[in-house]
Amino acid sequence: MALTLSSALRKTWQTLSSIKTGVILIILVVIFSAAGTIILQRPMTEPEDMQRAYSPAMLRLLDAAGLTDVFHARWFVALMILVSLSIIAASLERFPNAWRYYARPYKSPDEHFRRALPTQAQIPVKDEEHALDAVERALHKIGFKPERIVRTNSFSVFAERHRISEMAVYIVHASLLLIFLGGIVDALYGWRGFLMLTPGHQSSQIELRTGSTRTLPFAIRCDGAGEDTYADGTPKKYWSKLAVVADGREVGNKEIVVNDPLVYRGVRFYQSSYGRTGKLDKLILNVTPASGPRVNREISLSQNETVALDADTTVQLAEFIPDYVVEDGHVYSRSNEIANPAVRLVVTSAKKNSSVNYWLPEIPGIAENASSPYILEPKDLKTGVYTGLQVSHEPGQWAVWAGVVLMAIGLTFVFYVSHVRFWAVPVADSQGKRTLWVGGAANRNRDAFDVKFKHLVDEIHEELMAPPASAELETLKH
């Protein structure tokens, strides 16, 4: 029983670590993510739009299969976990070999290796020591640091460069896992929400995407918000002045704009939207007495505020209608957008015990503007603004960025840095003549390597032809 269990485990491990499984998993991820971009997705699409796009039966089917929210479905998460496991298994399966290769470089090639190596050359030489010196000088010339290897029964020269390149694939795989880890941490512990503020107000209640509310241990106060536009009216900049309030005192502030959020204790506040609340902030009026001396006065009113015009008369802003329409002698608001605003002011005289409904603009049949002791003219209407803040907490993002940097490094090594090795061994050829065996290997970019190898062989020839030490000897012989 134990034996079958272990064999089953081994089989699972082998399947998981095979490149075939990896590619099949990649294909599955591709298919399902493509489906997720073609089929309308739940949280982003309104339910009505979903019902319009698909028949009820179809929608039930899609919902049941989790295809209306692919990227958050359990089976998609499971698929991603399988991908991670496959990467881990494939890396672990191949890593020990690669590590051995990396940690203990093969420096002294035996006969078997020498026969099998594809890139090699044989140079006839007179003296072994002299030949190896020449190889060392030639290697120095092409920028390598040669190493003399002395074994009990042989001696040779070895040089290499960029051994780290053998590890590059594992760096890339590790970086991918790091990115996944960041994503998982964010999926488990991160949250995203929305906070709407009007200037002068503060809040610590974040409306989460999931529909629930989260209370922060600190509050955010909005000290102002606005929009700057270009000359042609297109928006140039949205800004909000935010302050962080903790334990009743301000602990920080920042003017945020799109692309530049406020960060406090790992919670990030982004400028997301900006608009008018449809509520009145201030109404500026020009007041003139209906009779008597024409003295102008400017007053400012906010909702329900009462201002005295003289000792006897007061005016109150009773009603603000952002988008008015008159029907059957009544005034209604068509929408909450400030498209066609109207205000109802009540001018009250204490002595006469009378009050007048003063409409701006004057609505015929309803307004009693004519009987007011004062003429009120609108000068300016200041409406309230709000700023919408996207709030997010992503504790895993540092793992993601670290993973990205690591991946960039890893890919650089994978594609552009190759592990180049050269060996030189003095041997006797089949006829027993002394020759120098020179071999080389590169793990990638073999075309460039072949050129380099030829260059090295040429250099060795050159060094053998003109050895400074034995130059006099040669001339003496002649």
Partner: protein, 465 residues
């Protein structure tokens, strides 16, 4: 016979060079006359026009080389490409200076940068890797790009807040470089298939599938009673018209849908004949299929002409709103590029059909092409990775999340996965030759879908490009 040909060629060769040279000189002279009247010489429009003329000259010479194989064309074609690139650089620099930001903010600016990258890569591929006929493919693309730019709104528009970020420039630059490298790997893979003795009719089938795909995509805008839906154009603001945030207003051009359906059928005909030939094992069908390709090119040209005539400044009704609305060519850049790309692909097929031996003679060997394709992807893949990373970082700063699974993002990830699959198969499984070439082609198809298809067919956050 062969000697007669050898003697004959230099004569015709010189003729073409002289003709192209005269054409360039004539067009430049005409342009110069206009410029003298209108004032500043070195403005963007003039520079772009000069680039267009030189690219067209280079394209003609590269095509001449592709068809006749006269070596001397290449030298002049390179010279013309250099001249075009210099003018193009001037236009990019002018744009950058005027706008105060690198030219990546609108479709117009992205095309400007894309054409520049393409011309630069053409010269690199030619000089460094000796792939001389690459201009035959890339120069017509560059010409189409510059012509398309004339249709798009080109005035310097201030950047909306979300686009005011350095990371955007990094992201888009990387995207352009990566996509250009992918395009190059695609062209090289195609050349490999030619050198690898892939049957000419297989190329016909592939061209057929590609063109059919374009027309099916266009026909997703087919409206009842034979109309074709196109986006309405707001002439005052010079932009697409919106019903509400993110929802474009479509107008219906009557009868154009029927024409597209007809063209779609003629495009499908060679493909059907090819399948018939394979099933019945009868070569005769292939000859008919080649004629059908010819007919389909004529009809595609007809479709393009009618589209140009009907969509240019017309007024049409809409299903979603009352009244008449305008539309212009600039409102439908994707339909337009689809139509042009279809014709272009079929013309390339004709070039292959008629001049295959000449092409084979002038391309590098299959092994070399296979290796260069791999090298190009080795450049494209890290660029794709960094492009996605820069985009994620920007999204994190602008929208509060580094990954939103929006369609463009998802498809960028899919592209990345496809190339990752290619690399794994090549490195660990030793995939070479055909299979690797198919993979490279698939990768580029996904890139094209990410670039055009997602914008055109799928909704999402990436409303800017």
């Amino acid at each position: 016979m062969s000697r007669a040909k050898a003697e004959q060629q230099p004569a015709t060769g010189t003729t073409l060079i002289v003709l192209v040279g005269l054409g360039i000189a004539f067009l430049l002279f005409m342009a110069f006359l206009n410029v003298v009247k209108s004032g500043p010489i070195l403005n963007e429009a003039n520079l772009l026009y000069a680039a267009l003329i030189f690219y067209a000259g280079a394209g003609a010479l590269y095509l001449g080389f592709g068809v006749t194989g006269t070596e001397s064309y290449i030298k002049f074609a390179s010279l013309a490409t250099w001249a075009g690139l210099i003018a193009n650089t001037g236009a990019v620099a002018h744009r950058w200076y005027e706008a105060g930001h690198p030219p990546f903010a609108s479709l117009y600016e992205m095309l400007l940068s894309f054409v520049w990258t393409l011309a630069a890569l053409t010269l690199i591929a030619e000089k460094r890797y000796g792939v001389k006929v690459i201009g035959t493919v890339t120069m017509p693309v560059a010409i189409v790009g510059v012509v398309l730019m004339q249709l798009l709104r080109s005035d310097v528009r201030p950047l909306v807040p979300a686009l005011q970020s350095t990371w955007l420039h990094v992201h888009v630059t990387l995207a352009m470089l990566a996509y250009a490298a992918c395009a190059l790997s695609f062209a090289l893979a195609m050349m490999f298939l030619i050198q690898d003795k892939m049957k000419t009719e297989s190329f016909m089938a592939a061209t057929g599938v590609f063109t059919l795909g374009i027309y099916i995509a266009i026909l997703t805008r087919f409206e009842r009673w034979g109309g074709l839906n196109v986006v309405a154009w707001d002439a005052d603001n010079k932009q697409e018209m919106f019903l509400s945030r993110g929802v474009r207003l479509f107008v219906t051009i009557p009868d154009l849908g029927w024409l597209m359906l007809l063209v779609c059928a003629t495009v499908a005909a060679p493909l059907a004949l090819y399948i018939l030939a394979r099933v019945k094992r009868n070569e005769n069908f292939l000859a008919i299929a080649n004629r059908a390709v010819f007919v389909s090119i004529l009809l595609q040209t007809l479709a393009l002409v009618f589209f140009l005539l009907r969509a240019r400044d017309g007024q049409y009704t809409s299903l979603d709103a009352d009244g008449l609305y305008r539309t212009t060519l600039a409102a439908s850049p994707f339909i337009l590029s689809g139509l042009v790309a279809g014709i272009f692909a079929n013309l390339l097929y004709l070039l292959l059909l008629w001049r295959r031996p000449d092409l084979e003679r002038h391309l590098p060997g299959a092994d070399a092409l296979d290796r260069i394709t791999y090298k190009t992807i080795c450049i494209a893949f890290p660029l794709l990775t960094l492009m996605i990373a820069a985009g994620a970082y920007w999204a994190n700063r602008a929208w509060g999340s580094y990954w939103n699974w929006d369609p463009k993002e998802t498809w960028a990830a899919i592209t990345w996965l496809v190339y990752a699959g290619y690399l794994h198969m090549r490195i660990t499984r030793g995939w070479r030759g055909r299979r690797a070439a198919y993979f490279a082609i698939l990768g580029f198809a996904v890139v094209m879908f990410t670039f055009f298809g997602v914008t055109y067919l799928l909704p999402g956050l990436h409303a800017y490009a």
